[in-house]
Every structure is written in structure tokens, then in C-alpha cells.
């Protein structure tokens, strides 16, 4: 039914792998930053917020270009990483993880921050009177209560990473097997006369994956909320 070439399957699996890794890597930072923004006021907070939310507002290609001129092989940070640690992002799936992660990060932070802000601080006060320091309070009260929001944030980030195109193709271009995600593969196929049929097959796969992600996310969030309230 779905006539996919081996290259197409490579693109599908690569896309999933990049999206999963990007979400997993950004999640701890997302939780940390969301908690910081939700709970603390500090000098320069507005600047931090602006930087975090910037990829939401910038054209994706601009974000990709900024990544290229900082993390490209000959760029300041990229050259440093290459020389001292042998870490290269150009043309590699790890670079795609970075561009997808960067684009997905603000969505994740926003969702998690909202859920943490919604937590009744009086519960955290109660935990403190019972002997919980800020760390244990965070782990035993704040995090569990924020779980539905964290799940939502993670799924949102995953979905965004799945579909990321502009920043990724600008930063690490379109290398089959390394950085050619489903979106890039479809794009390449549409650039070639006669590639429409193959492109359509990939489109179907992309839609199915997105639907599956959505359904899973809904189910997970609902279960978490139900468990929270003692169902």
C-alpha cells in the first residue's frame, strides 16, 4: 500500500530519532527554565524570556542561519568544539537535533511554565512546614502536580521537532541518512519533475505519525490528570 523506498524509510526513522532525542535532551532544561521563570524574579528576567521565546518569533531560516554562523564548522563555537572535542554538527544528525531542539524549546517552556504557575503555592508552603527543603518540595509536590503540563510541553516539542524544516535545512542542509527528515525529503521530491507520487507517499506517512503523536499526547495527559485527582 505505502510504496516507500529504502531512502524514504531512512528519512522516517531519522525524523523519529531526531525528534525523540531533541525532546529528551531539551526536557530537563525546559523544566528548569520554566520553573525559574515561573517562580523567581531576577534582574534581566525579561531578557532571558525574550531569548527563550525568540525562535517562536524569528523566521525559522533566520534561526537556522544564526546556528550556522555560531555552530558551523568554521564558526567560533563550532570550530572550538571541533578542535578540542571533535564535536561537529555540520551535516550531522546531531546538528539536526540542535536545530529541532532550539525551535521546539520555547513551546515546551511556555507549556510547562503555565502549569507550574498554576500550582497552588500554598501547597508548597505546607510542604515546607512539614520539613521539605526546596529540592524535595520540587520533586515531591511541584513536579508531580505539573506533570500534565510537562507531558503537554514535551509532546508539543516533539511534534514541532517532527515537522522542523527551515532551521534544519539552513543549518545542517539535506543529507540523506543524516539530516534528511521527512519534511526535507518531501521538499526534495517536489523539486524534481516526476517526484510528486513519491512525495505523496511520504506525506501520508507524515500525517499518520502526527496523528499518532496527537492521540498519544491526549491520552497521556488525560491519564496524568486523572491520577492526580485520585481517579
Amino acid at each position: 500500500m505505502l510504496n516507500l523506498t529504502p531512502q524514504d524509510w531512512t528519512a522516517v526513522l531519522l525524523t523519529l530519532r531526531i525528534a525523540v532525542v531533541a525532546t529528551a535532551v531539551t526536557l530537563p532544561f525546559g523544566i528548569a527554565l520554566a520553573t525559574l521563570l515561573a517562580r523567581k524574579d531576577f534582574w534581566g528576567k525579561a531578557l532571558v524570556e525574550a531569548i527563550v521565546y525568540l525562535p517562536l518569533v524569528l523566521p525559522p531560516v533566520v534561526t537556522g542561519y544564526l546556528l550556522l554562523i555560531t555552530l558551523g564548522r568554521k564558526a567560533p563555537v563550532g570550530a572550538f568544539l571541533d578542535q578540542h572535542f571533535g564535536i561537529v554538527f555540520s551535516f550531522r544528525w546531531t546538528g539536526a537535533v540542535i536545530s529541532c531542539g532550539v525551535m521546539a524549546f520555547p513551546l515546551m517552556v511556555r507549556a510547562i511554565r503555565l502549569s507550574i504557575e498554576a500550582i497552588d503555592r500554598k501547597l508548597e508552603d505546607a510542604a515546607a512546614t512539614l520539613g521539605a527543603n526546596w529540592f524535595w518540595c520540587f520533586v515531591t509536590v511541584t513536579l508531580p502536580l505539573a506533570l500534565p503540563g510537562i507531558i503537554a510541553g514535551a509532546m508539543l516539542a516533539f511534534a514541532r521537532a517532527l515537522g522542523e524544516f527551515g532551521a534544519t535545512i539552513t543549518f545542517v542542509s539535506n543529507i540523506p541518512g543524516e539530516t534528511q527528515t521527512i519534511s526535507a525529503a518531501i521538499y526534495t521530491l517536489t523539486q524534481v519533475p516526476g517526484g510528486d507520487v513519491a512525495a505523496l507517499h511520504l506525506v501520508v506517512v507524515a500525517v499518520l505519525i502526527s496523528l499518532a503523536a496527537l492521540v498519544t499526547s491526549e491520552w497521556l495527559a488525560r491519564r496524568a490528570t486523572a491520577r492526580l485527582h485520585g481517579a
Binding site: D120, D125, A128, T129, L130, G131, A132, N133, G230
Partner: protein, 222 residues
């Protein structure tokens, strides 16, 4: 023995209170807005006074002259809130165990059974707070504060959010608590009936000032 001598201003309202609390049950009595909850909050460490000193059994919990301010989590002072504030994601049993976990205390089944019997919550252990009635929730909240083995128990208008029937249902538990739990209690309330039943000493508060300290006879005319 708790000694309190604190000052704090909240915009136009200023609070200046000094009193001592020995064992037994002391009431902090006064109309709404007198500053009772603020004082409790400062004793627990959730709010910080502007000046003054709070000391428990000789140890300074707060002292503005030496810049001492012990963290809330280290004061070992139990606090029963007006709305209970049970953790919704934990069962009743886990709520009760919470203070013990956080303080690294070993499980004392005798104490546990004693408290659950005292407050008649033994049959509620597997339930979630969402499934408890208002009265049950308050009893669990009291049990939770007790089971962390506090040096001092603060109760901030624990019956205020309950209807008359629930109130009269819980008052006997509070009386038993006063008689059997060997921990000093401070009971905040604006209800003279409650205070007369429970407290042996009364600290009367008005507009942020302590106006009288004595036995329950203070409330004779109220």
C-alpha cells in the same frame, strides 16, 4: 516555651506583637484583620518580620539583630491551615507520612495508630483528598502536622471553612488533641465559642496589637 516579639508593617497596617506561650493550648483571638494569621505565618517562617525576635525553647528562629532566620523546613513547627492544604496527588496515608519522610524519622506504628485513632481517620488511609469531606480533610491535616513530631503545633482557624455541623463534629477531636498530644498548641480563631472550649490561655489581638493576655475568662464578656 515560645517567645515572640515582632514588628511588621504591611502598607498602612502595622503589626507589633509580644507574648509568650508555654505548654497547653493558647488561643490567638481577635476579629478578622487583627493580624492573627500574619503572626502564625511569621512563627512558622513563611513570612519574615521587619524587626524582632522569635525563639523556641531558647533557640532563636528569627532575630533581626543577629540576622538569624531559620528556614521553614528546619523549624519543626507543625501548621494546620484553614483550608487543610492536603497534597491532592498523594493518598491520605502518604499525606500523613509526608512530614516523617521529610524529616527522616523512622516509622512509629504506635504513634501512627494513636493519631489515627485520636482523629478517627484510620478508615480513610487509602483514599485521596479529593474524596474526603471537609471535616475529614481537616482531621487528616491535623494528623499530618502531628505525625511530623513537631515541637509546636499551630492551628490557623482550622474550623473556619466548615459549617456548624462539621464544626461541632471536630471540636471534640481538638479537645482530645489538647489533652493527649504532648505538644504545645497555638489556636487561632475569631470564634469565642471555640476558644472557650479549647484554650486555657488567650492572647487577645486587635488592629495589630496585643491588647490582653490571660486565661479564658477574658472572653467572658465576648
Amino acid at each position: 516555651m515560645l517567645t515572640v516579639d515582632i514588628e511588621k508593617s504591611f502598607g498602612e497596617f502595622s503589626l507589633h506583637a509580644a507574648f509568650n506561650v508555654a505548654g497547653g493550648c493558647t488561643a490567638l483571638f481577635g476579629p478578622s484583620g487583627a493580624g492573627k494569621t500574619s503572626i502564625i505565618s511569621m512563627i512558622a517562617g513563611l513570612t519574615r518580620p521587619d524587626h524582632g525576635r522569635i525563639a523556641l525553647d531558647g533557640e532563636a528562629l528569627f532575630d533581626s539583630t543577629t540576622r538569624t532566620n531559620v528556614l521553614v523546613s528546619r523549624r519543626h513547627i507543625g501548621l494546620v491551615f484553614q483550608e487543610g492544604r492536603l497534597f491532592p496527588h498523594l493518598s491520605v496515608k502518604h499525606n500523613l507520612d509526608y512530614g516523617r519522610w521529610m524529616n527522616g524519622l523512622t516509622f512509629d506504628s504506635a504513634a501512627f495508630d494513636h493519631v489515627t485513632a485520636l482523629l478517627d481517620i484510620g478508615h480513610l488511609l487509602t483514599r485521596r483528598p479529593g474524596r474526603l469531606s471537609g471535616g475529614e480533610r481537616q482531621r487528616v491535616a491535623i494528623g499530618r502536622a502531628l505525625l511530623m513530631q513537631p515541637r509546636l503545633l499551630l492551628l490557623d482557624e482550622p474550623l473556619a471553612s466548615l459549617d456548624a455541623a462539621r464544626k461541632s463534629e471536630i471540636l471534640p477531636y481538638l479537645e482530645r488533641l489538647r489533652d493527649e498530644a504532648r505538644v504545645p498548641m497555638i489556636y487561632v480563631s475569631h470564634s469565642p465559642e471555640e476558644v472557650k472550649r479549647i484554650a486555657s490561655r488567650v492572647v487577645m489581638l486587635e488592629a495589630g496589637r496585643v491588647v490582653a493576655v490571660n486565661g479564658a475568662e477574658l472572653l467572658a464578656g465576648v
